[in-house]
């Protein structure tokens, strides 16, 4: 290595490690703006995401078991669930179609739960028979209250074929 090369190297190292005042302030400015932007993004996300929701409770009282005849499928459009009284016992299905969220309806003449939006069909156990729905209708947690009413937690999905016997 010649002396000229050595000198060049030192100059380069000096230039890459020492930043001048202008660069320092530029980096400080850009850095603090970046931090401010990231903070704004976080605050923005938090602001847009509501902390308290005035939505109805997921737990609903569906009344006395006797009001549901044996072998019947009953839709409650307000709470969007089916209460089904079968030979094995009572159970509840989420009536919201698993395709795109439309409200399904019970069609007794064809013994089928059908969705009006895109034609998905389910049997009374929630199993898909036809249409674009990707999943079966989910079974919802059901129990008897102390007063003997059927209670359903719409937010709690359970494995199928679990019945409430009265």
């Amino acid at each position: 290595m010649t002396m000229a090369d050595e000198k060049k190297n030192t100059v380069q190292t000096a230039a890459s490690t020492n930043i001048d005042r202008r660069q320092f302030f530029l980096k400080m400015g850009l850095g603090s703006m970046g931090i401010a932007a990231a903070g704004t993004a976080v605050f923005g996300y938090q602001f847009l995401s509501p902390n308290v929701l005035y939505e109805p409770s997921p737990v609903v009282n569906m009344g006395k078991p006797e009001s549901y005849q044996l072998d019947s499928v009953t839709l409650d459009v307000d709470v969007r669930i089916f209460v089904i009284h079968s030979k094995e016992g009572y159970f509840s299905l989420n009536a919201v179609c698993t395709h795109l969220g439309c409200l399904t309806a019970w069609k007794p003449e064809i013994d089928t739960i059908a969705c009006p939006c895109h034609g998905s069909k389910f049997n009374r156990d929630g199993v898909k028979i036809a249409g674009p729905a990707p999943k079966p209708l989910s079974w919802l947690k059901m129990w008897l209250s102390d007063e003997g009413d059927l209670m359903v937690d719409r937010s709690a999905e359970i494995r199928p074929q679990q019945f409430v016997r009265v």
Binding site: L48, S49, P50, L53, E55, H99, L100, G101, C102, C117
Partner: protein, 263 residues
């Protein structure tokens, strides 16, 4: 009589007040006429000079201008509809019915708003097809095509957000379905839906969010991009008229890497 009016107008143009408002452009010289365009805040987005061929019906079928026209109608009727509409769950549907059956001229304004919205979506697509098949998206206008795609998305979002506002069955289920489609976004789909609706269901928060998007955020976004869209027409050499393009542009349009900017 006619001569008098013309003379009064000319005299008016010479007054100090007029001159303070309209800086350039009195007189008939080309320079003065150009300055009248260039020095006006509204008109400066447009080219100061255009070829006649460019503004003939045949060149563009006026589809872009018609789209702007429907947008103007939508803003005007939309502002009037806002005077009777409350974006709240108990009132939204009854207000819509009031507009339809009770408010004087309400039905006319609402229908005008709705039909203009349909027309605008149709015209945006027609405009884009026209630009596409004429090859008017090619350099130097390629970035203006991108802005056009943004404007297409804004138009569709305006339609979608406006769909919910009548708060009837059609609105409710359309937005239920639409927001569930949004939740198909990988990984953060459910979060996207939650932020969009401001909750887990299409409810009061969703109605208010869609209202704010429909009446404030999206129209302002549209105006912003329309301004750039128009300004780019001028910067990219004016409206596209095939016959008036330079020969070099016609032969090498697809391979040419850069274009000299024009005024």
């Amino acid at each position: 009589m006619k001569v008098n009016v013309t003379r009064y107008f000319e005299d008016l143009q010479k007054t100090k007040v007029w001159r303070s408002v309209f800086r350039g452009g009195t007189g008939t010289s080309t320079l003065r006429k150009s300055m009248a365009i260039q020095q006006n805040v509204f008109l400066h987005l447009l080219s100061t000079k255009v070829r006649k061929r460019m503004i003939e019906f045949n060149a563009t079928w006026y589809l872009g201008t018609l789209t702007l026209g429907t947008f103007g109608l939508l803003v005007a009727t939309g502002i009037l509809l806002m005077l009777y509409y409350h974006p709240s769950v108990p009132q939204a549907y009854t207000d819509t019915k009031d507009l339809q059956f009770v408010v004087s001229s309400g039905q006319f304004l609402r229908n005008l708003h709705r039909w203009s919205a349909h027309a605008m979506v149709f015209l945006v697509f027609a405009h884009m097809f026209r630009v596409f098949y004429r090859g008017a998206y090619r350099p130097p206008r390629e970035f203006n095509w991108v802005i056009g795609v943004v404007l297409l998305l804004v138009t569709l979002l305006l339609s979608y957000t406006g769909y919910l506002l009548p708060w009837d069955q059609l609105a409710f289920w359309a937005i239920t379905v639409g927001s569930n489609i949004a939740s198909a976004v990988p990984v953060m789909g459910d979060k996207v839906r939650f932020l969009m609706l401001g909750g887990h269901f299409v409810n009061a928060n969703a109605l208010l969010r869609f209202y704010v998007l429909h009446c404030m955020i999206l129209p302002l976004t549209a105006i912003f991009f329309v301004a750039i869209h128009f300004w780019r027409i001028r910067k990219d050499g004016g409206l596209y008229a095939r016959n008036s393009e330079p020969d070099v542009l016609m032969t090498t349009a697809s391979t040419r890497p850069m274009t000299e900017p024009t005024i």
